[in-house]
């Protein structure tokens, strides 16, 4: 639980006195507690378990279920109170084990079970159900209720993913509280009254929250179930290991659960510095992609334009031959490696080691959609520091769409901790509602926006009130990242003691860059490739044709490179252009470590056998090196780790035992000093009747993870171009109709929609949507990109 900050000055002779410390007695034993703490939380620490249903340590207490009754000594004798609503007080005497308390617990359970269907044998929760478990441990064993129970239609879908069985619901208010208080999507609510009270959505307005899966995890009964896991396993058949989600770079702690060697579920683990037990639905449910039938299982070699299956030694030999002939014909500079952000630190390090051994610096883990790695050279902030800062400056992407659980932490900071959010953006974001100030700007104008907003009197005084953290990332794929870097430099000049939380989104991008996978830049590498200067391109889980913002450049580059080797879990558009495709082990199939956006290195664990003959990326690097007569000096994933922490300065404070000992992970060292601010590029004038392009991500897109998870794939909103309603009026095209979007190089036909969160004069297109072609409108070498729209 949170505790109030105190300023205790410690005196040499006097032990510091904590004014918030109190002592209470629980069942006759003294328990140290803190003012404001609830009895139930104190009892959890002292090991006196109090049964409960509605209490959840990460949400405000509501006293809904009354299961947690205890006796507290009062002036008129012992009194029954709900321990989840009663704060501790110095000298308080609490008893959780008297016959009266036992009777109360039994009574409440009998009441809760009166209307409960007791269909445990067919209930997903059976075996891990707080109601079942506590009915055994604290219930009366028998019910006096013989009347007909309340009946409802068995499960009704409340969203595309979640189903609700109202007969099982005990009205604990956890799901509804979560939706309102944590997710900010109050789309489910108690309706009606008394015996008819039930959780429902508004008619025809589903609970489509990015965080809906959490309600399934915290429901203390089997009332809420999730489609991807329903009826797949019984809890006692599940085996689990703790790991870290690498779908995005927040790095939420999870358990990876499987049965019969099949991944079946991820559950959130409460990591205090990171995810507070929450997960987003994309991270929670994309285990489906690991089990997808579309996974690559066998190495493939292209013969006469057709892929044919090969064994690993043939395929690796062929790949080595491609690399050596490239070295021979064009030198080390003609070999390039893109990717590494999808895998483990060890994967990235092994490939960067190989690149160095080959002598090439044409290496990048980002695909022109991030920021230069100099962003790590500023004083770094952790997620906790950002969430506890008195001012958070947002310069960059919509966190709700890209780094969902970080969005939750900052939303919580603004709602409960009263941090003030100052947001800059070319489009409103999920946090705009909670922002103290939102400054909209046209693409490329962020420096001017920063300079004018941060010098307003009210902002200056707010910035002086306490710590300031700048959350910075790539908010617009259709503009040069230089604008964001200049804006960051401007912030740091105006608020010199601010710290920086870089929010690059690819799962392990920070680990990959720290492991050395950032010596080149994808844009330059692709330019060189298009100019015929790259003979061999290795794609380590990278799909430039889908992910590089400039579709034309990516296409020209991949066509020009004669030899492409792709190491991936799926056949992507880019790997289908390769000569050799090697199947890679996926998340959940390999051990190692990962690094989240704040530089927290934590353990990844293998739970199921690798698919087909697929291998982890690091192993492929080592074997390829071997065939090229390069000895990387490693034979196991542990060797790779040990070598990485001795050679890569950012990893130096970390060793394997430190990571084992700390499930929350260990922070990377801060390396480098703040970069010299480069001059702000001059933004070209926007021609009248054209719109400046803003391209950013939605949580659900056409990426492999989502596209191969049947429960998520249909949630991608699809491709369209969004204008401010007034701009749409001016254009005269009805919403939903097709228009011709004319870029600098070509034009594409797109559906047009109105969206009031888009600023006037700009056009917003979500990136990488099914059927989307926005990459055709982006020129990566331009500072900004404009489009004209024509009715058709």
């Amino acid at each position: 639980m949170t505790s109030t900050e105190t300023n205790v000055t410690s005196d040499e002779n006097q032990p510091p006195v904590d004014p918030n410390a109190v002592t209470i007695s629980i069942n006759g034993r003294q328990v140290a507690a803190r003012k404001g703490e609830l009895i139930i939380a104190a009892a959890d620490r002292s090991g006196d378990y109090i049964p409960r249903f509605c209490y959840h340590p990460r949400m405000s207490p509501v006293g809904m279920c009354r299961q947690c009754l205890v006796e507290v000594e009062g002036p008129r004798g012992p009194m029954m109170v709900v321990s989840c609503m009663t704060p501790v007080a110095d000298g308080q005497i609490v008893r959780t084990d008297t016959p009266q308390v036992k009777r109360a617990h039994e009574g409440i359970l009998e009441l809760l079970l009166a209307n409960h269907p007791l269909d445990c044998p067919v209930c997903d929760k059976g075996g891990e159900c707080p109601l079942q478990d506590q009915a055994f441990s604290h219930g009366p064993g028998e019910s006096r209720f013989v009347e007909e129970k309340r009946h409802y239609e068995k499960p009704i879908p409340i969203s595309d993913i979640v189903l609700l069985d109202r007969e099982r619901c005990i009205l604990c208010d956890r799901c509804t509280r979560f939706a309102d208080e944590v997710a900010g999507d109050a789309l489910i609510h108690f309706t009606s009254r008394g015996n008819n009270t039930q959780v429902l959505t508004f008619p025809d307005e589903p609970f489509s929250s990015y965080f809906s899966g959490n309600t399934v995890q915290i429901c203390p009964v089997g009332a809420l179930t999730a489609k991807p896991y329903r009826f797949k396993a019984r809890p006692w058949d599940l085996e689990k290991v703790e790991s870290t989600c690498t779908t995005c770079s927040v790095g939420c702690r999870i358990t990876v659960e499987s049965s019969r060697d099949q991944l079946l579920r991820y559950q959130g683990v409460d990591s205090d510095p990171v995810n507070w037990s929450w997960l987003c639905d994309k991270g929670r449910f994309n285990f489906e992609a690991v089990a997808s039938d579309a996974r690559l299982e066998q190495p493939l070699i292209k013969r006469d334009g057709q892929f044919v299956e090969a064994d690993w030694s043939t395929a690796l030999r062929a790949a080595a031959a491609l690399v050596s002939s490239a070295l021979r014909d064009g030198g080390a500079g003609s070999v390039a490696i893109l990717g590494g952000a999808r895998g483990t630190n060890e994967d990235a390090y092994a490939w960067s080691r190989l690149a160095r051994a080959l002598g090439t610096s044409n290496v990048d883990a980002q695909l022109g959609d991030g920021l230069p790695s100099t962003v790590f050279a500023y004083p770094q902030a952790t997620i906790d520091e950002a969430a506890n800062a008195s001012t958070v400056i947002l310069l960059g992407p919509d966190l709700k769409e890209e780094l969902p659980v970080l969005h939750l932490r900052l939303r919580d900071a603004s709602e409960k901790r009263r941090s003030k959010i100052v947001e800059f953006g070319a489009k409103e974001s999920g946090l705009t509602r909670y922002a103290w100030k939102h400054t909209g700007h046209e693409p490329g104008q962020q420096v001017a926006a920063v300079r004018s907003t941060l010098t307003e009197t009210s902002v200056v005084s707010q910035l002086g009130k306490g710590s300031v953290v700048v959350v910075v990332g790539r908010g617009n794929l259709a503009e040069s990242p230089e604008f964001t870097m200049s804006a960051l430099a401007a912030v740091m000049e105006l608020v010199p003691n601010a710290k920086v939380l870089p929010v690059l989104r690819r799962g392990n991008v920070r680990g990959a860059l720290s492991a050395g996978m950032g010596s080149g830049s994808a844009a330059e590498i692709l330019e060189r490739a298009a100019a015929g200067k790259i003979n061999c391109l290795v794609l380590v889980g990278a799909d430039p044709l889908a992910d590089f913002p400039d579709a034309d450049l990516a296409r020209r580059a991949l066509t020009a490179v004669p030899n492409i080797v792709s190491l991936d879990t799926f056949m992507t558009t880019s790997s289908s252009q390769a000569q050799i495709v090697l199947p890679a082990a996926a998340f959940g199939e390999k051990d190692g470590t990962t690094t989240n956006l704040e530089g927290r290195v934590s353990q990844l664990s293998r739970k199921v056998t690798t698919r087909g003959t697929s291998r982890p990326d690091w192993m492929v690097a080592v074997e390829l090196a071997d065939l090229l007569d390069i000895d990387l000096g490693v034979g196991s994933v542990h060797d790779v780790f040990d070598q990485m922490v001795t050679t890569q300065s950012a990893f130096r404070p970390i060793d394997r035992s430190a990571i084992k000992a700390s499930p929350d992970g260990v922070l990377l060292a801060h390396v480098g000093s703040a970069p010299i601010a480069s001059p702000v590029p001059e933004v070209p004038e926007r021609a009248g009747f054209s719109y400046r392009l803003v391209v950013s991500r939605k949580l659900y897109d056409a990426g492999q993870n989502v596209a191969n998870s049947p429960s998520l794939a249909s949630l991608a909103p699809g491709s369209a171009i969004y204008l401010h309603p007034l701009d749409l009026d001016r254009l005269g095209a009805p919403a939903g109709s097709n228009v011709k979007a004319i870029g600098a190089r070509t034009s594409v036909v797109m559906r047009v929609e109105a969206d009031a969160s888009v600023h006037r004069g700009t056009a917003w297109v979500p990136w990488n949507q099914p059927g989307g072609k926005v990459g055709e409108l982006i020129d990566a070498s331009a500072l900004v990109n404009d489009v004209r729209l024509e009715n058709i």
Binding site: D180, D185, A186, L187, I188, H189, F190, T191, S192, R193, L200, T201, F202, P203, D204, E205
Partner: protein, 204 residues
């Protein structure tokens, strides 16, 4: 059926302005919607949510707590026959049985002409006058089968129009408050001193 009319949106904004927090106006706006359409339609709830800054689910959750908000169209007259103890002892069940036959509807149903909806209600606090009923919440005491039939005739003939406005009419909720009568509510956190009527001497 419908969102709030332009006239009612103006009124809604006036009502919202009376509260320190827009959401506090949810219930008065639900009354307004019910007055407009005779019941609270889904569209109206969506509209109210937009006006007070709540999700439709929150508006529905609040509204559905109250029996007097109807979510399906009801007749012009809502007849609630009390079925609780005193009235039951004095023949409420027989009266309901009679009413069902006389109107040719089941409890909860509406007559074909859309005029009357029949419901059973809990105690209406007129136990000494049992059995009793309400027509759009206006009492009728010691109701007999004959007086029930007379009541229905009167309603059908429009003889009670002056006394009983159509269902949903908020006769007793002041939707318009003159400026000098507005209490000037402030958000709790903005209250710095005691209430204006409290001079510090009154015994509390």
């Amino acid at each position: 059926m419908a969102r709030l009319t332009e006239e009612n949106v103006r009124l809604a904004r006036e009502i919202i302005a009376r509260y320190p927090r827009a959401r506090s106006a949810t219930i008065p706006l639900l009354h307004l919607a019910q007055q407009q359409d005779g019941y609270v339609s889904n569209d109206a709830m969506v509209h109210i949510g937009e006006l007070v800054g709540a999700t439709s689910a929150e508006v529905f959750g609040t509204a559905s707590f109250y029996e007097m908000f109807k979510f399906e169209p009801v007749g012009k007259y809502l007849v609630n026959i009390c079925g609780t103890m005193s009235c039951a002892l004095m023949g409420a069940d027989e009266l309901i049985h009679h009413a069902e036959h006389a109107l040719d509807v089941k409890l909860g149903g509406t007559t074909d002409d859309g005029l009357i909806t029949l419901e059973r209600a809990e105690c209406q606090a007129a136990c000494t006058e049992a059995p009793c009923l309400q027509v759009n919440y206006r009492y009728r005491f010691r109701v007999t089968n004959e007086s029930f039939d007379r009541l229905v005739d009167d309603l059908r003939a429009g003889r009670l129009d002056a006394e009983i406005p159509p269902h949903g009419t908020v006769a007793r909720v002041r939707q318009r408050v003159s400026a000098d009568r507005i209490v000037g509510a402030v958000a709790p956190e903005d209250v710095t001193d005691g209430p204006t009527w409290f001079d510090g001497k009154a015994a509390l």
